[in-house]
């Protein structure tokens, strides 16, 4: 096959092995917060060992939304994050972790920066301040714009994660994404998991370079995209389930990728799990990535 081989990547999270005892020892001995770098280093190493070419920081610190609400002013992290004051960008949330990943990443690997989408943030928090979904979403978008601008020099691509599109696509989605990426020039990926078959035309209008979806869990997406796809976008093909421990066979994944090639042709630029891997056992997550890598090798005759 002579088409360009898609890169194996991740959506974001990778299961972390956190040594809680060591963290407490650090506290009792030195009264200090422990370094998180060993956790990040381990996650990155496992992704690289599995054959991932576009690597994230693993989002090991927290669930993907909490990473940002913990870092932004105005948010109080509770069972659900509460917005208690106007949203404020205080300092970069993920920059130091990304700089660390860059420092340990092999030179032939690329780095994926991750930001959660403003719509998803606005829908997931308890709002005690704005009383207006749109205003809240744009407040998050402004904070995320500053984050994206600061991480851009360190990363090769930024992925905006908007899982809440599956529950409802806001009329102002394009404006929100435009705001977040307004000052960056690196390629942008938009990840929306769940069944988004009904909003494919709207997704294709978003100001991003790559669309990323759960094609393994929602194979109906192939038909939905067949109907509307116009090659204005590249595709990140979700190819294994992130919500099941069963590890798909290489043959299954090969068939899945071949179907992706039929629909998207050369616009198929990334292969990934359907979503973040955080909730899977680490050995399962690693094996899924390894089989994705092996399947790509089979499909592209390497």
């Amino acid at each position: 096959m002579n088409v360009e081989k898609p890169v194996l990547t991740v959506i974001g999270s990778y299961p972390a092995e956190v040594d809680r005892l060591q963290m407490m020892e650090s506290y009792f001995q030195r009264l200090q917060l422990p370094s998180w770098q060993p956790v990040i280093r381990q996650a990155v190493k496992r992704m690289v060992d599995a054959g991932v070419g576009l690597v994230s920081d693993g989002q090991t610190r927290d669930p993907f939304m909490t990473i940002f609400t913990r870092g932004f002013g105005g948010c109080q992290v509770r069972e659900r994050t509460e917005v208690v004051e106007p949203i404020e960008f205080i300092e970069p949330v993920t920059l130091s972790d990304l700089e660390f990943v860059r420092s340990v990443l092999p030179k032939d690997k690329k780095l994926l920066g991750l930001v959660v989408g403003p719509h998803t943030l606005s829908q997931s928090v308890v709002d005690n301040v704005y009383d207006d979904e749109r205003e809240l979403a744009f407040a998050f978008a402004e904070a995320l714009r500053q984050e994206a601008e600061l991480i851009e020099p360190v990363v090769d691509m930024i992925s905006v994660d908007e899982p809440f599109y599956a529950n409802g696509f806001p009329a102002y989605a394009t404006d929100l994404i435009e705001h977040v990426v307004s000052n960056v020039s690196c390629p942008i990926r938009l990840h929306a998991c769940g069944d988004v078959t009904d909003i494919v035309p709207s997704l294709l209008d978003l100001p991003v370079d790559v669309l990323s979806h759960e094609f393994a869990a929602s194979p109906g997406l192939f038909d939905a995209f067949s109907e509307h796809f116009d090659e204005s976008k590249q595709i990140c093909l979700g190819s294994v389930r992130s919500d099941q421990d069963r590890v798909e066979s290489v043959d299954e994944i090969v068939s899945h990728i071949q179907r992706g090639i039929e629909v998207f042709g050369t616009q198929l630029s990334q292969i990934a799990p359907d979503c973040g891997l955080r909730l899977l056992p680490e050995s399962v997550a690693f094996e899924k990535l390894t089989r994705l890598h092996n399947a790509i090798m089979v499909v592209y005759n390497e």
């Binding site: 407490m24 610190r61 992290v77």
Partner: protein
């Protein structure tokens, strides 16, 4: 001075009361008993007796916080505690090694001491084995350390108590209940100087308002980590001991004040502070001090 809108839980062990609105009960003081090498029980007995004497004189309760480091010392230390403390008198066991922790729990049960034990401590480093042993050999009370490795602010401390900060499956408070421990003291986890050390003090009223539970901390540890104080040899012990007044001023209920040897200074110091708090909270909030309060004991 503070008064909390949330109902305050008060726990009791052998007539020692933990918690409540500021000014109701005196601050409970935990004096650290550390053994170096082979335990020197003669010296330890004298220190405990001195602490109990000054506690009785000023009306501030004192509890020995016994550090157990080695498995081989468990039985001798527990036998010593049984022998020297008045019958039924509470004590706490301070253990960091998870292997030693589970051995101590079993030994406490064997010695018939669980009903007077304060377990120091439960935190996000809890192991499955420890949880299982705590459920089987539940102590009367536990100190829960609200250390959140992800967030050093008072909010972070609330988070780890409430939901475990995504490090453990449930919040530390629910975890304690799951282990059969209903009486919980919240240690607001003092951090090193330069690392947001004041948050442990700021968190004292936050924890009480949020959960209605007794709160306290070992603020003197921050003084120990203040290396610049080495240049002020005379002042350092004074700063160490006086740092403890922050706890009652900010509405806290208990404090781990450092080496038990400091008892003769720290108990009168905290008695004075408790009286100061009580005078105001009775006058302004109508909180009548309990019968054994230093304000009653020392001012007639």
């Amino acid at each position: 001075m503070f008064s909390f809108t949330k109902d305050q839980q008060v726990f009791e062990l052998q007539d020692i009361f933990f918690g409540g609105q500021p000014g109701l009960h005196p601050t409970v003081l935990f004096g650290g008993l550390f053994f170096k090498g082979n335990p020197d029980f003669t010296s330890a007995e004298k220190e405990i007796q001195s602490m109990l004497d000054v506690s009785e004189r000023v009306g501030v309760p004192g509890i020995p916080d016994v550090f157990i480091k080695k498995e081989k010392d468990i039985d001798s230390i527990l036998s010593f505690i049984k022998r020297v403390l008045p019958e039924g008198y509470p004590f706490s066991v301070d253990i960091t090694d998870p292997v030693v922790k589970v051995k101590v729990l079993k030994a406490l049960d064997d010695h018939g001491l669980l009903s007077r034990t304060i377990y120091n401590s439960l935190h996000v480093g809890v192991t499955e084995r420890e949880q299982s042993m705590l459920s089987k050999h539940s102590p009367a009370m536990a100190i829960v350390v609200a250390f959140n490795p992800k967030d050093k602010s008072p909010d972070g401390k609330v988070e780890v108590l409430e939901n475990g900060a995504n490090l453990i499956d449930q919040g530390l408070l629910d975890l304690a209940k799951t282990c059969g421990i209903d009486q919980v003291l919240v240690d607001t986890a003092a951090l090193a100087p330069g690392d947001y050390s004041g948050a442990a003090i700021a968190a004292l009223p936050v924890v009480k308002e949020e959960f209605g539970l007794p709160s306290g901390c070992a603020i003197h540890n921050v003084v120990e980590k203040s290396t610049w104080l080495k240049d002020f040899e005379c002042a350092k012990p004074l700063v160490d001991q006086s740092s403890n007044v922050n706890v009652p001023v900010f509405g806290g209920d208990f404090l781990l004040f450092g080496p038990i040897e400091y008892s003769s200074t720290v108990f009168p110091l905290i008695a004075w502070e408790d009286m100061l708090v009580s005078e105001y909270t009775e006058g302004y909030f109508g909180v009548t001090p309990s019968s054994g309060h230093p304000r009653r004991r020392l001012m007639g």
